[in-house]
Amino acid sequence: MVVRGRGLGLEIVLSEDDLTASLDALDARFAEQRDFYRGSGATVLFGSAVPTDEQFARLRGILDVRGITLRALQGGADVERRAREENVEFSVATQERLSPAARSLVADFAGARNDIAGRRKRGESRVRRASTGEAPQLRLAEAVTTLYHAGTLRGGQALHHVGNLVVVGDVNPGAEVVATGDILVFGRLCGVAHAGAQGDEVARVYAIALRPVQLRIASRIAADDDGAARGAQEPEVAFVREAHIVIVPFHRMEVPN
């Protein structure tokens, strides 16, 4: 069960396999914070779960007691029926939402980050533009989910995903994209990108304009100081070679046949 501030209200993600357990967790979470959420609106995401009448009534109860108005529901056809009855907005559960497997992400990234912080203390590396040396092979997609996000990520927005992450639009400075697999930004990558976030050193970061504030692959970290100034107008890819993050123009990548 995840409760997130999203835009102007709360986004409550209920787990699909055990709805009752996550309702208990929700109630416990609100109990901890008395009426901190009073007065705000909530969107509840059921994913593929189908709540029974009793479970749905319990959800309404939990929200009403805390003074939170139900503003929207997301889920399958059954949830849509409920949304009509409650006359709140409805949206179909799309794969765009954080996949359930991603829920433990934050803890994992914290682990990676601490390691990186320690590494940074010992002198942080500057990214090198490799002109020579072999270019990496394009990786064949393993059986990993890819989160496809259409739209620019503004400052302060973060997108985490277990698997690969594709952003069609810019990642503005102050925004953060984190994935356990590769990251591809079809636009300007100016925020912080962290690929291979659970230790996959082979992960890559691709972008039409690769000018991140900071680039992290697995537990390697690099600040792209000259990137912004240089502003090369060609797509580039960043990868790890001999424990250092290197950036090469994309066209020099070898495409396996």
């Binding site: 501030g5 914290a110 400052g155 927005q157 925004a175 900071q214």
Partner: protein, 245 residues
């Protein structure tokens, strides 16, 4: 940040704390944005140590920054957690400067939680002075000693009677003056480049920040008197009357 840098050049160990969670800018104007890995929220949540999150500034060995988080918001840290972090920082530094967010809501309350003194910064404009007065009221509820910095003063407008003078502002707010900073393009230039002014002592405003530092250290330092030299137009030189600054 210029004050922090000036303190550091005076040999003081300084930790700058950015309390503006969600609207992080201190790292930007210091040019340290690229080196942030972990931030204040992660220290508060105990997921990393304070010293891991501190970023040293190569140009000022005695200066380091505890950055705010950009992707979280103000309710991510409680007042107690914030005060604890400031206390912990105070053990490792002579000065801990906490940059408070705008407004008087939770973020402001967090920022002043660990403080023993307060500096209120205002411009000589009507709405800024009124906001400053409200903040002074809130601070005096907590018996914090308060001092005032008047920023973006335009001496030529004070001279033509279109802008409140520093005396006016001090009189209306009833707070002791700590420093006066004229409206100068140097500030815009250096913040855009992420370089504290005191890096280059030829800058007009560097001297002003050094003076503020000396006053912070308890010295009585006379305030700069801004002639109309700041007014580049000919008009200024014609009426080179002195306005107290």
């Amino acid at each position: 940040m210029n004050l922090g840098a000036a303190l550091a050049t005076a040999g003081k160990r300084v930790i700058l704390v950015d309390a503006d969670i969600g609207l992080r800018n201190l790292d930007l104007v210091l040019g340290l944005e690229k080196r942030i890995v972990v931030d204040l929220v992660e220290v508060a949540e105990g997921r990393c140590q304070l010293r891991q999150a501190l970023i040293r500034d190569k140009r000022f060995p005695a200066l380091s920054l505890l950055p705010a988080s950009q992707t979280r918001d103000k309710d991510a840290v409680t007042q107690e957690q914030f005060a604890a972090i400031v206390d912990q920082a105070a053990e490792a530094a002579d000065y801990v400067l906490v940059d408070s967010p705008a407004g008087i809501e939770g973020g402001f309350r967090n920022a002043i939680a660990g403080a023993t003194e307060a500096i209120v910064v205002t411009t000589p404009e009507v709405s800024a002075i009124r906001d400053a007065d409200r903040v002074v009221g809130k601070l005096s509820d907590r018996a914090l000693p308060i001092r005032l910095i008047v920023n973006r003063l335009r001496p030529e407008m004070v001279h033509t009677g279109d802008m409140l003078s520093v005396e006016d502002v001090c009189e209306v707010l009833g707070v002791e003056l700590l420093g006066v900073i004229p409206d100068d393009e140097e500030i815009i230039d250096t913040t855009n480049r992420g370089e504290p002014l005191v890096l280059d002592d030829s800058k007009r405003l560097a001297a002003i920040f050094h003076k503020i530092v000396r006053r912070l250290e308890g010295e009585i330092v006379p305030f700069t008197r801004f002639g109309n030299g700041y007014r580049h137009g000919l008009l200024g030189r014609l009426f080179a009357g002195l306005t107290t600054g």
